[in-house]
């Protein structure tokens, strides 16, 4: 199967509420991540790396930053004469009823789906960070003769609503599907990357409209477990789901392990993002940087340890940044000190200030705030 035969659909606002601090001014898809990316970069790159040439990005609210980031889709090679990137803002008619749920969102873009000539659809949220081989996924789908294939991970269920948990037979066919079960055990939970024939998706949505279904996970996925061949496809590489501020912090920090970085930024399937044309990072005399990820455009004259610096961050002499995430154009002035802080874009920490949080409760500093 070639990617040309697949249309990608990305839910950029899914689970916005779980990191409300970061999504207050943006969508989940445009949340900054790992020094130079936005979460949507992983989803979009996975799709284009498999040859997908048409991607619809569903938006619901606060999508200015998302539009600014994806632009015409050029960085992902999705700025095309034919197909390419489509931003799909909410279509609030009576029938569509807003984008409260994934199902409502899909109802709102029925026109986009039915006008697409591709035979398959790939649905994806943005809050899971992984480098997925979609070619392998589609081959698996064909080999299993599946109707729906759901990418899952084995581990502790994320603390989110509507988490689909699969119980599968030896062949990985789903036999029972539960939604957000209460359990501390390792389970096979869905990463909300779902593959099926476009015609099937259309039929399921039309059924949902006529039967007045409201819930994608319960009515479409769980409700069809006996009627359709639903298969699980295990994501075996590095995959992490952002489910809270704490996990956002933890997932960023996990990338300080080069093995995780290698897996996520696989050279065969690169992750693309918007280019900013910064110079390479400059390390001044007396700078002291340990175990950190640093983007272009940074100027570091102080101490940085176990931290993630985004593009254009400045750390002045005598300043100390430890266990922290400083987003783009942040400024840490002389002798200021940060520990377990998540500083949003363009934050200024004036001289001699000290801020300290805890690993399970990092201090968040909002965009453009001066401390």
């Amino acid at each position: 199967m070639t990617g040309k035969n697949i249309v990608g659909i990305v839910f950029s606002n899914a689970y916005d509420e779980c990191i409300s601090e970061l999504t207050g001014i943006r969508t989940m898809g445009s949340v900054p991540f790992a020094s130079r990316y936005r979460l949507i970069d992983f989803t979009l790159s996975n799709m284009v790396n498999a040859g997908i040439e048409k991607v619809g990005v569903l938006t619901k609210s606060n999508y200015q930053s998302l539009m600014d980031h994806v632009g015409t889709g050029k960085p992902w090679d999705l700025s095309r004469k034919n197909d390419g990137l489509f931003i799909l803002p909410p279509f609030s008619t009576n029938e569509a009823g807003g984008n409260a749920d994934k199902l409502a969102s899909l109802k709102g873009i029925m026109g986009f789906i039915s006008r697409s000539n591709e035979e398959y659809v790939l649905l994806s949220d943005c809050n899971t960070v992984l480098n997925l081989d979609i070619d392998a996924l589609t081959d698996y789908h064909t080999a299993k003769n599946a109707d729906i294939t759901i990418v899952y991970k084995n581990g502790k269920k994320p603390n989110l609503t509507d988490v689909v948990v699969l119980s599968m037979n030896a062949d990985n066919k789903a036999e029972k599907i539960s939604i957000s079960p209460v359990t501390e055990e390792n389970v096979n939970y869905s990463l909300n990357v779902i593959f099926m024939k476009k015609a099937l998706l259309e039929r399921l949505i039309n059924d949902a409209i006529s039967l007045n279904y409201k819930d994608f996970e319960a009515d479409i996925i769980q409700g069809n477990v006996d009627k359709l061949n639903i298969y699980g496809y295990e994501a075996t590489g590095y995959a992490a789901t952002v489910e809270s501020m704490e996990s956002y912090f933890k997932v960023n920090m996990e990338l300080l392990d080069p093995a995780n970085c290698d897996d996520l930024f696989n050279a065969d399937r690169p992750i693309y993002t918007k280019v900013r044309d910064d110079m390479p990072a400059i390390y001044g005399l007396g700078s002291d940087v340990k175990n950190s990820l640093i983007a272009d455009g940074c100027i570091i004259e102080g101490t940085v340890e176990n931290s993630i610096l985004f593009r254009g961050v400045r750390v002045e002499k005598g300043a100390v940044v430890k266990n922290s995430i400083v987003m783009q154009d942040g400024f840490v002035a002389q002798n200021a000190s940060l520990n377990c802080v998540v500083a949003d874009k363009s934050v200024v920490i004036t001289p001699n200030k000290t801020l300290s949080g805890a690993e399970n409760y990092p201090v968040y500093i909002g965009k453009e705030i001066v401390i």
Binding site: A34, S35, R36, K74, L256, P258, C261, L264, F265, P270, I271, Y272, V275, R276, D277, D278, M279, P280, A281, I282, Y283, G284, L285, G286, S287, V289, K290, N291, S292, L293, I294, A295, D296, G297, I299, I308, L309, G312
Partner: protein, 405 residues
């Protein structure tokens, strides 16, 4: 027909840059990497777009493959335009036969048709050999104000260096009274930067006349400009005050790179009002490990540092393993410096491998005779094997093995 443009730029990028040796074995000089993520040509191209000149012809001839590929449709410099934009101009077959570009003036002569399509009043002639940030538009305004036929950008150099440059002796109104090409005893310290603004109608005629002259070597500096001067055309010098460096030699290229680490040098690439654009590689942020030591250096994305880096520039996707030492060096994309290897006072081109315990270059202090010292250069894709030594001033483009003593 293209829409009229007041001013277009022609960038001479065909030179081999033979003094850069193995660095230009497979690529034209303007495509030589510089400054951790750039290539030399990014400077004139970015200057053009920042100056509002959005039609640029790039004249290529020597090893154009990589340069053409790099420029692509010009999108990285915002030069993918519906009208104008960047155009690669290679020599082409004409009804009277095929000719290589014989000289700088001939290269422009062969592309008169390209320039005429835009019907410009003025043409800026640039070269792809220099690192500098300059507003060509200010120079153009000056050219118009003076009503000149030709304006040449000049820079005041130190008197000691002056004899290495093409110099101009000026009248009080900055019009040019005399030219001196690399004189032994300079009478002026005003050097030409190789940036020219011409009134197109004038230059067009001089190019046609120059082509007819069988004794001409069809060069701007040697033929066209002296002829214009001899004919009494209005020629002015435009004073540029800022960082400018010719990177035509290994030493000057190495120095120009390390200038970026000197806070006293007036070349700020972090200035967002005059960005230098480049094609950015697709690489993750760079990683500095817990045991790495990085001082006074510039590091680009995708690199990983586990060892020591001092006063050096690392391009993208470079790996410096634990215990390796890199100082006063430029390491280009994809190169790996393995455990315990030392790279000092060197330039290492793309995708080279410096194996464990190998030593590249030497510090000037180590040398018995200072004259034997120089920057060591390792060519693209070369492996310097375990324990091997690359001497200062050496240029290696084949794998180096340890010598048996």
């Amino acid at each position: 027909m293209a829409r009229k443009q007041e001013c277009i730029a022609m960038l001479l990028a065909g030179g081999q840059g033979s003094r850069l040796g193995i660095l230009t074995k497979n690529i034209a000089k303007p495509a030589v990497p510089y400054g951790g993520k750039y290539r030399i040509i990014d400077f004139p191209l970015s200057n053009c777009v920042n100056s509002g000149i959005t039609t640029v012809g790039v004249l290529t001839q020597y090893q154009p493959l990589e340069l053409n590929d790099y420029i692509g449709n010009g999108q990285a410099w915002d030069l993918d335009r519906a009208n104008g934009g960047v155009h690669i101009l290679s020599p082409y077959q004409q009804i009277k036969g095929t000719e290589w570009y014989k000289g700088t003036a001939n290269a422009i002569y062969q592309n008169i048709n390209f320039i005429d399509r835009y019907d410009p009043e003025y043409v800026v002639i640039l070269s792809g050999d220099h690192i500098y940030k300059m507003d060509y538009n200010k120079m153009l305004e000056y050219h118009k104000e003076k009503g000149a036929a030709c304006t040449i950008a000049m820079l005041e150099v130190s008197w000691e260096e002056a004899s290495r440059f093409g110099l101009m002796i000026l009248n009080d109104d900055n019009s040019i009274s005399e030219f001196e090409e690399k004189p032994k005893n300079p009478r002026s310290n005003k050097a030409s930067m190789g940036v020219y603004v011409f009134t197109w109608s004038k230059l067009r005629q001089y190019l046609i006349d120059d082509e007819k002259d069988p004794n001409s070597s069809n060069d701007f500096g040697k033929n066209v400009i002296p002829k214009m001067h001899a004919d009494g055309e209005k020629m002015f010098a435009y004073l540029f005050d800022g960082y400018w460096k010719d990177v035509g030699t290994i030493d000057s290229l190495w120095e120009a790179n390390l200038d970026l680490l000197n806070p006293k040098v007036d070349l700020d690439l972090s200035d967002t009002s005059w960005r230098i654009y480049a094609k950015t590689p697709v690489s993750p942020p760079h990683y500095i490990s817990a045991n790495a030591k990085v001082q006074n250096s510039m590091i680009s994305e995708g690199s990983r540092v586990y060892g020591d880096v001092d006063y050096s520039i690392l391009f993208n996707d470079v790996v410096i393993e634990e215990g390796a030492e890199v100082k006063y060096s430029i390491v280009m994309p994809g190169t790996v410096v393995k455990k315990g290897a030392v790279v000092q006072y060197s330039m290492v081109a793309e995708n080279a491998v410096i194996e464990a315990g190998a030593v590249v270059g030497a510090t000037p202090e180590e040398m018995a005779n200072r004259d034997d010292w120089g920057v060591a250069v390792v060519g693209a894709g070369v492996t310097v094997h375990e324990g091997a030594f690359v001497a200062p001033k050496a240029m290696v483009d084949e794998d180096v093995v340890k010598e048996d003593k």
